[in-house]
């Protein structure tokens, strides 16, 4: 008996040792079924204490394209609900997601009210197109990537946003997509582009994206130079530039972001110390290219910031700005100001 106990103690010690040496297990929050499965009363207007009648578990009754989920008395019904929602015969799921992907790429949905399909929302402008995209999505095993590829390879996506007077006269709201809608740079793209200008954007993939030792979102400092897609999203604390440039509220369901033009955005681009320091770094990078003459410097700055060479008029404006302050000691600050001006310009904030 004693031997057995000793052996058990030894084995436990070994187990602890192995556990400590083993790889760290990834942990994620998930839901689990409760011991007691029961129907619950409806919370009227979402208020928990405002209890209505008890409602049996089920799905929207107006959708009769396929049979409603059959939920066993002793199961919550989560699985059955998920299967019902993702059933290819479900009329909404594939259309809603196809419409959102279209809206993210094309600035507006085929159904403009992306979060509201049906009688309370707007009608699709191109119903056959929406059906086609939804069908393709299902056919390609719900691959979002393939759906994005389908859309960006269209002629419509590749159209320029240039103005054509005759087309404008015929269809001023561009409802027939005679040109690409002008797209506003979103918060992530603004941040990444600015970091890229100063050549400090970190392109590394995967891995932990929350600073070690973090135990609360409050006061979290977003100092990472990684691409925006790797910044953590907390419910009540966003990077300032995200908060200012209409990042989606993490507390809300939101299919399409706000698109605002408000003074705090301008103030951030004008006065934020971080933005200024990135612009100074961008200036330093430019001035290190000693092979460039002044005209080439201007072209280089425009290419880096706006992806196009300057217009002759823009070129002249920059030249005359530079010529006001010929002191070579001030050139980094001046170029910092020029980069800052370019990221404030409307051609940076909108994609043509």
């Amino acid at each position: 008996m004693e031997d057995l106990q000793n052996e058990l103690a030894n084995l436990n010690r070994r187990l602890t040792l192995l556990e400590n040496q083993g790889p760290v297990r990834q942990i994620a929050m998930a839901v689990s079924e409760r011991d007691e499965i029961t129907n619950v009363p409806i919370a009227i207007r979402g208020v928990l204490t405002n209890r209505g009648p008890i409602v049996p578990r089920g799905a929207l009754q107006v959708i009769n394209s396929h049979p409603p989920p059959r939920i066993h008395e002793n199961q919550s019904g989560r699985l059955e609900l998920a299967q019902w929602i993702t059933d290819p015969r479900h009329p909404l799921t594939s259309r809603v997601i196809a419409n959102r992907v279209w809206a993210w790429l094309m600035s507006r949905g085929i159904v403009h009210s992306v979060d509201n399909f049906g009688t309370m929302g707007t009608l699709p402008t191109h119903p056959e197109l929406l059906d086609f995209l939804a069908h393709e999505l299902i056919r390609n095993h719900w691959s979002i990537k393939q759906l994005v590829r389908d859309i960006v390879l269209t002629r419509t996506y590749r159209l320029s946003s240039a103005h054509i007077e005759s087309a404008y006269q015929a269809d001023p709201s561009n409802s027939t997509y005679w040109r690409m809608p002008r797209r506003r740079l979103d918060a992530e793209s603004i941040r990444d582009s600015i970091l890229q200008l100063s050549q400090s954007l970190d392109f590394s993939y995967a891995g932990n994206n929350i600073e070690a030792g973090t135990n609360s979102e409050y006061g979290y400092q977003f100092n990472s130079p990684r691409r925006s897609v790797y910044l953590p999203v907390f419910r009540n604390n966003l990077p300032e530039i995200f908060e200012t440039f209409d990042f989606a509220d993490p507390n809300r369901m939101n299919g399409l972001r706000n698109s605002s033009a408000v003074a705090p955005q301008s103030l951030l681009l004008m006065n934020s110390p971080e933005i200024q320091s990135q612009c100074l770094s961008a200036a330093q990078c430019l001035l290190q290219k000693s092979e460039l003459n002044p005209d080439q410097q201007i072209t280089d700055a425009f290419l880096a910031t706006l992806g196009r060479p300057p217009l002759p008029s823009e070129h002249d404006l920059i030249r005359s700005f530079l010529s006001q302050y010929p002191d070579p000691d001030s050139s980094q600050v001046l170029w910092g100001q020029i980069f800052q001006t370019l990221i404030q310009s409307i051609d940076f904030r909108y994609l043509k």
Partner: protein, 415 residues
Amino acid sequence: MTNRSTCHPTQRMTRRQALKSTACGFGYLAAASLATQQAQSVTNPLLPQPGRILPRAKRVIFLFMQGGPSHVDTFDYKPILEKYDGQMRPFDDARTLAKTRQIADQRIFKNLWSFKRYGQCGQYVSELFPHIARHVDDLCFLKGMHTEGVAHGPSTLFMHTGSINLVRPSIGSWVLYGLGSENQNLPGFVTLQPSMGNGGPRNYSNAFLPAAYQGTAVGRAGTSADQARIRNLQATSLHLPSQKAQFDLLRQVNMEQWQHSQQESELEAVINSYELAWNMQSHAPHIFDFRDEPQHIQSMYGIGEKGTDDFGKQCLMARRLAEAGVRYIQVNYGDNSNNPRWDQHSNLPEHALHAFNTDKPVAGLLQDLKQRGLLEDTLVWWGGEFGRTPYAEKKRIRTRSQFLWFHPVPRLGLG
């Protein structure tokens, strides 16, 4: 019909024609401020909105006492508590009900502070607020408040947004949405030193309203009022030789790009947002600089005195913002913890400290608004996210289901 067509569209056409006829956009520069004003009529969502009814109150100052001051120890006198002190009585305590679905007996706890009647109205005020007590005749006391939240987080959200768990716009956002702002060089909804806890930004969020109606946080809880400034308002060192020269360059570059675009109103809105930012930068810092305030005014708010200095500065800032035409101003007396400042579960006597810190500044604000005639059309609202139970939990005191607030414009017909 005639009126409609001579309103916005014509102004816009005139300006566009003028711009098109000027070669390199300097016409725009010369007329920048005029253009901004005109464009605002097309694109600025913050212009004052004509109301359906003409309200007497033009602005709101909300003095948020975070943590829940005990109404029974401040303004809602309950002499019967003295009589039954220490006795057990059944109460439908919301937390207990939520947890156990039972009504339990609770031990009644008397007021720790004595009450006196003040003013012509004879309102009882506890000895915690000797300064505010002098203004009772200008105040209206609402004692029937009710909340659905049983903890600070949900109650704070409920008070600001009307919902404990759904994402809804803050009351300040609604007010700004409905009435617009009187000063286009300042944000229309300002919250001074808000807490980062208990919902944090959701308490001044626009939620589903356009972003223009979001509250602008000035400073944050836990830092001093001296550091409370609008973010990114100060021009910093990069602006050599001058920010003006850089801003002129931006105007010119934007004008070039605008000329080469289709001169769409969306782009105009962006250009205007820089003009607004520039104006804010020139005008707003003055609001936060008290050097032109006479000493006797500062003393009225308790500025320079131990305890009252910080909240006094916030209250003075609120008056200056109100004077400048800001529509909704929230002054926060709070912190970032889960049990915020007024939350005296275990140590009710600490109420005395918070009452001392806020009493004189609030009274000073009321007096200052009154002597400037601003109290006539300013709704000053004082309150926490809930009140406190009349019974003690061991040594603790707490409640939900009631909170008290008061505001000093009873003549506005709140009834």
